[in-house]
């Protein structure tokens, strides 16, 4: 357990170090992509719990990201001025659930406070994950993969075909998310450093929560389900409930990332809901070694950063397709568990955690 907090501390130091280095080398523009990479990492962390520990594949997690992002975007951009005399709007205003701001042209916009929108987004995500999860998680193998893929495509088609969601253009002009007075999620240049830290603090907290969970009674039960489902069942583990709760938890991670990234980017488009995004998340989880929080985080941060900086050029999707194939052909245990990497770790005198759980 001490190892867990040591690793978290090291991660925190690393996050600070990166920021300081960008400051010194005058490359603070990297922070924008590092912030985005952090939010994408959040999706991948949740998916790692689902795939690596509960053993359930999801090819529809971009759908949950989109549910979070789009809910928040719609609720915080929908102008309530025309309805401001309506009783319900007045009640909400008096409870502080609304905020007034100006749009680009100085027009008045009255909309739901981002906090309320965030909570509603999570509530909707939980509801959808629950309703979808109950039947979907009864399926196995190809059926589960296709069902989750199907869910993802449905969400994609809905956001692409519905005027409320901006169809192909998506939703723009999403306001900043004031978390606390003085702290807000926004893409404003002056807020770059602050937002880098907001994003990574969220990731660090998420890592800590997941490591705790994996090391707990629940994590043990999840690994048992993954390893021998019938035996876990015979030990009194309600396997269906555990899978469902894990599915919902990972959906909430994805939706949270969707909400924050949408406020950071000031908008969201249908590509965030596309199948390719879902596949990309799966690719990164696989590259990280399926059941390794640290592996997933490393791969998520590195690959997303490279992709966002445009290093893969027009071959972006191809790179992730190739990653999937190469990993599954040659290193189904993940890149970090290849013999070569083990030797490198030994050379660096970095003591790898024992066992296959990847968390110490």
């Amino acid at each position: 357990m001490r190892g867990r907090y040591l690793h978290i501390t090291l991660l925190s130091i690393f996050v600070v170090a990166v920021q300081v280095i960008t400051q010194i080398t005058d490359t603070t523009y990297y922070l924008t992509q590092l912030t985005m990479a952090a939010y994408y990492s959040l999706v991948i962390l949740g998916l790692t719990l689902l795939m690596g520990y509960a053993g359930q594949i999801s090819l529809g997690h971009a759908g949950f990201f989109a549910i979070g992002g789009y809910t928040s975007a719609v609720l915080t951009t929908y102008n309530l001025i025309p309805y401001k005399e309506k009783a319900i709007v007045k009640v909400m205003a008096s409870m502080g659930m609304l905020q007034m701001r100006e749009d680009l042209y100085g027009g008045q916009i009255l909309n739901l406070h981002p906090w309320i929108a965030f909570l509603l987004a999570i509530a909707i995500t939980v509801a959808v994950a629950y309703v979808i999860g109950i039947p979907v998680l009864k399926l196995k193998g190809h059926y589960l993969a296709m069902a989750t893929l199907g869910f993802g495509i449905i969400i994609y088609r809905i956001v692409l075909g519905t005027p409320l969601f901006g169809e192909a253009d998506g939703i723009s002009d999403v306001p900043a998310f004031g978390l606390l007075p003085g702290i807000e999620v926004s893409g404003d240049m002056s807020m770059r450093i602050q937002n880098y830290y907001i994003a990574w603090v969220i990731v660090i907290v998420a890592v800590l929560l997941l490591l705790n969970l994996i090391d707990s009674r629940v994590g043990r039960a999840l690994r048992a389900i993954h390893g021998a489902e019938d035996a876990a069942d015979a030990m009194g583990v309600n396997t269906a409930e555990y899978k469902l709760k894990t599915f919902i938890l990972s959906a909430v991670f994805a939706a949270t990332a969707g909400v924050f990234l949408t406020h950071f980017n000031g908008g969201i488009g249908p590509s965030e809901a596309s199948v390719m995004k879902s596949v990309r998340y799966v690719a990164i989880v696989a590259a990280g070694g399926m059941a390794s929080i640290w592996g997933a985080l490393t791969m998520a941060a590195v690959l997303n950063f490279l992709s966002l900086r445009g290093y893969f050029g027009s071959y972006d999707d191809a790179v992730f397709g190739a990653i999937l194939i190469v990993i599954m052909l040659f290193a189904p245990e993940g890149i970090l568990r290849l013999p070569v990497m083990k030797n490198i770790q030994r050379l660096l005198r970095f003591k790898p955690s024992e066992g296959s759980d990847g968390a110490s």
């Binding site: 929560l209 997941l210 705790n212 969970l213 707990s216 009674r217 629940v218 994590g219 043990r220 039960a221 690994r223 048992a224 390893g227 021998a228 019938d230 035996a231 876990a232 069942d233 015979a234 030990m235 009194g236 583990v237 309600n238 396997t239 709760k245 938890l249 066992g355 296959s356 759980d357």
Partner: protein, 254 residues
């Protein structure tokens, strides 16, 4: 007192009657064995009692409560644990962790408590660990606690499964061919452990091929043939039962 009461249990697959109108009772505190030639329906009977299969008709009454049709995990919660004929230990987990899974129903921590690592969940985990160690001591495998369970020798894995089933603190333990694949010395070890478990107050229902094991440790025996019960008695009487000799011993050399 009757702990388990099986009444008129039937189950068919397609046209085949795997278990046909089988009734018997298991009194508290004894070792009862179910024997019969291959295809007699022993494993099906076992899967019915543990909830893996749902019966077509009949009742299974455990502690005065009907449990037929419940899910396996619900039956475990009522105090029935089991081992598997083909070992089903959790890969990637140590012996300690495997046996800790037996304590699952005796602990509470859920997703939120686990994520937040609450002080009470830490205390609970400590308690689980302690209790598990006690069980490993009782079974005599405390020295294996940190070994990966599935990397152990076959005989040791059987014992770990037994420990895991015991950790659940069941009222009734179902053992599915616990001596399958074991040599004579290992079989004797298992027999001693099963008797020890019975003496701790756990009722044991065992399906087994090994006749000598069954005759040595069982208090009562049920004999199945082609899905039907043909005899139920104490071991000595079963050995003399002509029909049993005809259907069972005629086929098996035991």
């Amino acid at each position: 007192m009757v702990l388990l009461d099986v009444k008129g249990l039937s189950k068919s697959f397609g046209g085949l009657k795997a278990v046909s109108n089988v009734s018997f009772t298991v009194r508290e505190g004894i070792i009862k064995a179910v024997i019969g030639p291959n295809g007699a329906g022993k494993t099906t009977l076992f899967n019915l009692i543990s909830g893996v299969l749902k019966p077509d008709s009949g009742k299974i009454i455990f502690k005065n409560e009907e449990i037929q049709g419940l899910e396996p995990f619900q039956i475990a919660h009522r105090g029935v644990s089991r081992t598997f004929q083909h070992l089903r230990l959790f890969p990637g987990m140590t012996v300690l962790e495997n046996v800790m899974m037996g304590r699952h129903i005796h602990s509470r921590s859920g997703f939120f408590a686990g994520m937040l690592n609450m002080p009470w969940t830490r205390r609970e985990e400590k308690g689980v660990r302690q209790k598990t160690f006690e069980i490993l001591e009782i079974i005599g495998i405390a020295d294996l606690a940190d070994k990966e369970a599935v990397s152990l020798a076959y005989g040791q894995q059987r014992i770990v499964e037994l420990a895991r089933a015991l950790a659940l603190e069941p009222k009734l333990m179902l053992l599915d061919e616990p001596a399958a694949g074991l040599n004579m010395r290992e079989t004797a070890d298992i027999a001693r452990l099963i008797t020890k478990i019975r003496d701790m107050g756990v009722t044991v229902l065992i399906v087994e091929h090994d006749m000598s094991l069954v005759m040595n440790i069982s208090d009562e025996i049920v004999v199945l043939s082609y899905g039907e019960k043909i005899a139920e008695d104490v071991p000595l009487a079963i050995q003399k039962n002509e029909e049993v000799i005809r259907v069972y011993l005629g086929e098996d050399d035991a």
